[in-house]
């Protein structure tokens, strides 16, 4: 299949950037990233600069890939990462527009690769549990209700790809932050620190310059792991109750 690609090219964070048009010959079995690999092979053989894009596992679990394809982060398939999107969803002769994530907190490094280190700093601020070293406790010794563990697992499915920020008209990180805060808060090991965690993660999120949640729900629509905005409500509750009902201070 012959495709026309309109790809955002930007040499450096300072460069203004522009769209370039390319032709590529792909086959329906390829993944989207393999199709871009083919393009890059051609560019390299023509001694041109290949298109920079991020990828790692290529099996939908690491969250590194993430392109805005025809206006949708991770492209048109519901609940699918870019690396798991296959070219059989396209037809011969299609034109595809590929852009990087947009948002002040996600500046472009180069071409389609953006700096998502803001997410790392949010996790460092509170997206963990404190455990003492030594003998690990028997996991089965802590009873957890099935429904509860399922909800925690749904939240834990977040791969930190940032598509929620890319989809949001406010570039808000609430879906990501709430998924990370929820999956810990819902389990006994994480619950003990949940109040402080909510305060610390929200504080860092605000410092990074993400927008505020207007409950547009575009994040849930585009999230490759279909994380629900129920988690955002949970974080709102956690933040409110830790502000009003506890003495935790995050200074």
């Amino acid at each position: 299949m012959k495709l026309t690609l309109k790809i955002w090219r930007q040499k450096s964070p300072k460069d203004k950037g522009r769209f370039e048009t390319y032709q590529v010959e792909a086959n329906p079995h390829m993944s989207f990233l393999e199709m871009l690999d083919v393009l890059n092979e051609e560019l390299i053989s023509k001694k041109e600069e290949p298109v920079a894009f991020e990828h790692d596992c290529r099996e939908g679990i690491c969250g590194t890939c993430g392109l805005v394809i025809d206006g949708q982060p991770h492209g048109p398939s519901q609940g699918t990462t870019t690396c798991q999107l296959h070219m059989r969803h396209y037809k011969d002769g299609d034109t595809i527009v590929i852009e990087p994530y947009r948002g002040s907190a996600f500046p472009v490094f180069k071409d389609l690769a953006v700096d998502r280190s803001a997410f790392d700093r949010i996790i460092q601020a509170g997206g963990y549990i404190s455990v003492n070293t030594g003998q690990a406790q028997d996991g089965n010794a802590i009873p957890i209700e099935k429904e509860q563990s399922a909800r925690a697992f749904d939240a834990a499915a977040c791969i930190g790809c940032g598509a929620c920020v890319a989809a949001c008209p406010n570039a808000s990180a609430m879906l990501f932050v709430s998924a990370k805060a929820s999956h810990l808060a819902l389990l006994p090991q994480g619950e003990v620190e949940s109040k402080r965690r909510a305060q610390a993660m929200v504080k860092q999120m605000d410092l990074e310059g993400f927008g505020m949640c207007s409950n547009v729900t575009a994040c849930e629509a585009e999230c490759p792991k279909e994380i629900s905005v129920e988690n955002i409500a949970r974080l709102n509750r956690e933040f409110l109750s830790s502000t009003l009902g506890t003495e935790v201070k995050v200074g």
Binding site: R102, G103, S104, A167, P169, T217, L240
Partner: protein
């Protein structure tokens, strides 16, 4: 006080302010509509004028009305701040291809709350100037019912509603309020963390009915008075 000011300037705190003031305005709109429906009584405005007299002289209602003015101002100012901060957060470079989707809410309304709110604000300024300020400044005709002299607000309203331009402006503004609430009603609950698998569908249902019926109720009054009562 520092935890409190931290809360009020945090992203979630700002949204909670929007939500609480918004819910207060939602409650007020019901009371306001019930009052306005008195305009339709075919008694040359007597029941409406008596109602208006009561609303402006009952001390409890006067206190609540100051809370209301404050809520409108806080909601509007905070709304503009959120709007500008959110535009800054998304940055100057936008997507070449737009493809907005949403889950369980009106995506047009959801992503245009700032514009919709600003139109409502302009409506409110004109609305307050026309009825409230006229009444406060005292250039209102008076009428006497059973020996009590009250301001004839009805005549001012009927006058305004005899102008087709104003009637159209009023009705269009109500459509804007409907859109604002189509997203805002349920959004206010989500902001407070009130999302529950059992009750959220109910909240969304009530929100849908409210967002259509209340603005419709307001819009019917000038339409009825223009077309049927002259």
């Amino acid at each position: 006080m520092s935890w409190f000011s931290n809360f009020l300037t945090s992203s979630i705190g700002r949204k909670v302010i929007m939500s609480l003031t918004g819910l207060f305005l939602i409650t007020f709109l019901v009371i306001h509509l019930i009052g306005n429906l008195q305009l339709l009584n075919p008694d040359d405005g007597m029941s409406f004028n008596i109602y208006a007299y009561f609303m402006t002289h009952n001390p409890l209602i006067k206190t609540v009305s100051y809370l209301l003015y404050a809520s409108i101002l806080i909601h509007a100012v905070q709304g503009w701040m959120l709007w500008s901060k959110n535009r800054k957060a998304r940055g100057g470079q936008r997507y070449a291809v737009k493809n907005t989707r949403a889950v369980g809410t009106n995506s047009f309304a959801a992503s245009n709350m700032g514009w919709l709110g600003t139109i409502i604000f302009i409506f409110l300024v004109i609305h307050m100037y026309q009825f409230w300020l006229q009444m406060k400044l005292g250039n209102t005709p008076m009428v006497t019912y059973d020996g009590n002299e009250v301001k004839d607000l009805y005549t001012i309203v009927a006058d305004a509603y005899s102008n087709i331009g104003y009637v159209i402006f009023y009705v269009v503004s109500m459509v804007v309020v409907a859109y604002h609430l189509l997203h805002g009603f349920q959004s206010a609950f989500q902001t407070l963390g009130l999302n529950h698998r059992k009750y959220t569908p109910f909240i969304k249902g009530v929100g849908l009915v409210y967002s259509i019926l209340i603005p419709l109720g307001f819009a019917i009054i000038p339409l009825y008075m223009y077309f049927m009562m002259q």
